[in-house]
């Protein structure tokens, strides 16, 4: 098998929780707690989970915007984590990020052209004239007119700002982009426009995405594979088709059931999970979901379930749940 574009190995990010007079570290917030997966070239992995599950932290730890506590991330077989700070610049060319909030993701005192040009300046790509031309090209790719070059971010709507942010991420021709909730701050009719743009980029430029969202419907539209996160851990990982057609983990099923469907009369199957997400500072013992799971067994409270492949037809479908696997022993 060839090297995947991106490989994440047992990645952990723990934040120290400090308290008391002398700021001693008294506990750790396990934002990301042992996550592994791979993304092939040109594919999109959708990462879904509720707020506080660690999905955004995971995205930033992969790009090393946050230093991971342990584990490794390999881009084309090279470890990002072991790369010295001086070597990061050339790696940054290959991986970029699209952000959630279109209002804070653009520097308010820089014009559109300055913002999109900055990656080219930092990496010293091309002559000034070539950079200028590249900016025009990028504006065209994200369907913005060239007359916006010298305007400031506050003159644009959320959807337009998001396009500018996407153009900035594309400037260096990255192979891999982390998109952190890129449409959740946008209006419904604009959401679809931006989602279509991302789908186009994936198809035309062959960029691989890690697409982070809390919205399963959005994830379905953009993803080839889907990972479901809960309290810093992946609980299910499968191709988008399998995951939506045949969700295995009780949490995934609850998430899907909880989405309000715009079809009156088709009242949701009442699969409402009780309670709320526990604190990642004191995660429950055993399976992290056992406090809310409707199908909880004794073993779930004591033992962390390992990933079991329940895939059919040669496709992998991993699920971390005690309901599966033991029977086949």
């Amino acid at each position: 098998m060839s090297t995947p574009l991106l490989e994440v190995r047992d990645l952990k990010k723990h934040f120290p929780v400090k308290s008391g007079l002398f700021h001693r570290t008294t506990a750790h917030l396990r934002a990301v707690d042992g996550v592994s997966f791979t993304i092939e070239k040109g594919r999109t992995l959708g990462l879904v989970g509720e707020s506080g599950c660690g999905k955004s932290t995971l995205g930033r730890a992969i790009l090393r915007l946050l230093e991971p506590s342990s584990g490794d991330v390999l881009l084309n077989g090279t470890s990002i984590i072991d790369t010295p700070r001086s070597g990061m610049l050339s790696l940054r060319r290959k991986m970029q990020m699209i952000f959630q909030d279109p209002y804070s993701s653009l520097s308010p005192r820089r014009t559109v052209a300055q913002t999109i040009r900055e990656p080219l300046d930092v990496h010293s790509i091309g002559t000034p004239a070539e950079r200028r031309q590249r900016v025009d090209e990028l504006l065209d790719v994200v369907s913005m007119g060239l007359q916006v070059r010298d305007r400031y971010p506050h003159e644009f709507s959320g959807g337009q700002r998001q396009r500018i942010g996407i153009a900035r991420a594309l400037a260096l021709n990255p192979e891999f982009i982390v998109a952190d909730e890129p449409v959740s701050a946008l209006d419904v009719s604009v959401q679809s426009q931006v989602l279509n743009l991302i789908a186009d980029l994936k198809r035309d430029l062959g960029i691989a995405f890690l697409f982070i969202s809390h919205d399963l419907a959005v994830i379905q539209h953009v993803s080839d594979d889907v990972g479901v996160m809960y309290l810093g851990k992946l609980v299910e990982f499968a191709s988008a088709e399998d995951l939506y057609r045949n969700p295995k983990h009780p949490y995934t099923r609850a998430l899907i059931a909880a989405i309000p469907v715009p079809e009156p009369g088709r009242k949701r199957a009442r699969l409402i999970v009780k309670g709320e997400v526990p604190s990642p500072i004191n995660p429950p013992s055993g399976c992290p979901f056992h406090t809310r799971c409707a199908e909880v067994k004794a073993i779930c409270r004591s033992e962390l379930p390992a990933a079991v492949d329940v895939g059919e037809g040669g496709r992998s479908h991993l699920v971390n749940c005690h309901l599966y696997g033991k029977a086949s022993d």
Binding site: L65, S105, S107, S143, G145, Q147, H154, Q193
Partner: protein
């Protein structure tokens, strides 16, 4: 969907909104006018256009208000009006130098401390601010004046050394807020060096704080100058409102108030106007206020 999407956008400069808001603030405009008049007076005195005879004896002792001596004369017959005008120059010199340098030092150290908050750099910066803040101001000035024996800038150094901490604290807080914003993260993701991030993406966005804080420091500096000069720790050469008030103590006891009143009035009006200007500026630069 690209063509028409940008057509309807209003052009709106970044500062034009603040200028518009300021131009509708009547108190702000009046205060700006007063400050401008003082500035002209100071510039004129500096350029030798007026108040050239402030040190000369042009009349008798304690002459009353007249068309020749608008505010009368002091104990040795110097023209009080000219002395008050000339003092404006001193005041502005002190105010500008102190405000500019204290704000610059505060912005730089505050930004660095905020950007590296939690690290040893931040700890050292905070420790320095803590130490400087805990020394009584006048004691500190006296110590510096003593250390820099006869140096006319001892007072300036002392004020800058104490006033930058307020600016630094404010900037540090703002930078901590700004550095978690996504555009700063985006700059990291692009690979922009940290020093460039601070100067290109963070400091320009604290400019509104610096502007307002600069005017506040200006007021603090001119007030302190008067008090220090009165105490004999301030201006050594030339004339200042503080020195005028200091000279006038004897005169006041003798029942002659002109010197005291002139200096006080000049100071009062300027401080008042500058404070109002600073408030209006703050309102105009605050993006949250309509």
């Amino acid at each position: 969907m690209s063509g028409q999407s940008t057509a309807a956008i209003r052009r709106e400069g970044l500062w034009s909104k603040a200028v518009y808001k300021f131009s509708r603030d009547r108190a702000g405009l009046v205060s700006l006018a007063i400050v401008s008049i003082y500035t002209i007076v100071a510039l004129g005195a500096w350029g030798g256009l007026w108040a050239t005879e402030w040190a000369d004896v042009t009349g008798g002792k304690w002459m009353p208000v007249s068309s020749e001596h608008w505010f009368g004369t002091n104990i040795i017959g110097q023209d009080i009006f000219q002395r008050a005008l000339f003092s404006t120059r001193t005041t502005f010199e002190v105010g500008f130098v102190v405000a500019l340098l204290a704000t610059a030092v505060g912005a730089l150290l505050g930004a660095v401390a905020g950007f590296f908050s939690g690290s040893w750099i931040d700890e050292i910066a905070l420790w320095m601010m803590g130490v400087l803040d805990s020394i009584p101001f006048y004691l500190f000035v006296a110590a510096i004046a003593f250390a820099l024996q006869d140096n006319p800038y001892a007072m300036h150094v002392a004020m800058i050394a104490t006033f930058w901490t307020t600016v630094a604290r404010l900037v540090r807080g703002e930078v901590i807020k700004l550095k978690s914003l996504e555009y700063v993260e985006a700059a990291h993701a692009i690979g922009v060096p940290e020093i460039v991030i601070i100067f290109r993406h963070i400091l320009p966005n604290t400019f509104h704080i610096l502007l307002v804080q600069g005017t506040i420091t200006f007021v603090a500096a001119i007030k302190s100058e008067v008090i220090l000069s009165f105490l004999g720790l301030g201006v050594k050469e030339g004339m200042s409102w503080g020195l005028m008030i200091s000279e006038s103590t004897m005169e006041v006891m003798a029942g002659f108030f002109n010197n005291f009143l002139a200096a006080s009035a000049f100071l009062f009006v300027l401080v008042m106007a500058f404070n109002m200007f600073s408030d209006a500026l703050q309102d105009a630069l605050d993006p949250k206020k309509v």
